[in-house]
Homo-oligomer: 154 residues x 2
């Protein structure tokens, strides 16, 4: 979104929104140009690859990617149709399901990574000094901890 605040003072938030949107758009474009699936797919694949046994419960995965639960179900549906992920019913808790990364899924992530990495590197990391990066990391961590701490909207 644009520079939408009332006072110029608080404009860092507006800048934040704009940067997010412009960068995500560019990254998606690059992936699409390379004939690769979207950013959201990468996130799921990578989340699974990091997990022990390359598997995660749906709810754990939903926490990792920031997506509504129902939408994660359908994203995994698509990934499953495309054979990048497989579902396994949980033995201990028969309500639960695991999403499991397949070999194809692992290979896809490996193909996506260079494109994604290059985009972030060029568009984000290369533009920010180590010191700025450090400061930003601290600030954003603080923001996130605060926001996560108070789950309710009040």
């Amino acid at each position: 979104m644009g520079k939408s605040l009332e006072k110029p003072k608080g404009s860092v938030w507006a800048l934040f929104l704009t940067v997010h949107s412009v960068l995500v758009e560019q990254i998606e474009t690059r992936l699409a140009v390379a004939g690769l699936p979207s950013f959201g797919w990468y996130d799921v694949l990578w989340g699974l690859e990091r997990a022990p046994g390359q598997r995660l419960r749906m709810s754990e995965l939903a926490d990792h990617v920031v997506l509504s639960r129902s939408n994660l179900t359908r994203l995994v549906d698509r990934l499953e149709d495309a054979k990048f992920v497989r579902r396994e019913r949980s033995a201990e808790d028969r309500r639960g399901a695991y999403a499991v990364l397949t070999a194809e899924g692992k290979a896809l992530r490996k193909r996506m990574w260079p494109v994604y990495q290059a985009a972030i590197q060029e568009l984000f990391e290369a533009q920010v000094s180590d010191e700025q990066s450090q400061t930003m990391g601290e600030a954003l961590t603080q923001v996130l901890n605060n926001a996560r701490g108070s789950t309710d909207g009040a």
Copy 2:
């Protein structure tokens, strides 16, 4: 999205994504709880209110809010249905259309502002020191200028 990079070093980007998503979600929730329309509506209303004559060409508005052109058309459709915006055909260039803010639209923005402002203040600004904010502003400006400079994906 989650902490999705390959190496912890580049994790500021991952943090950036996560913060964006968590904060936007919280802001939307607060607006919804207050019985107010979404964040995207605010952005359009505010964009128009700032503009001379409270009016903007569709294309200018599309640059302001970061949204695909087709989607802006439909967002303005909805705003028009709800009487917050009015469309006017351009006289000089008869292809063009202006979106014009109505009195109701102005009033709506005024009602949304306190909720939005409070959320940003509390979730973002209050968590970041002046110095951090300053650094972040500089870094993000650099990122944005760079990304905007090179429109193409290569």
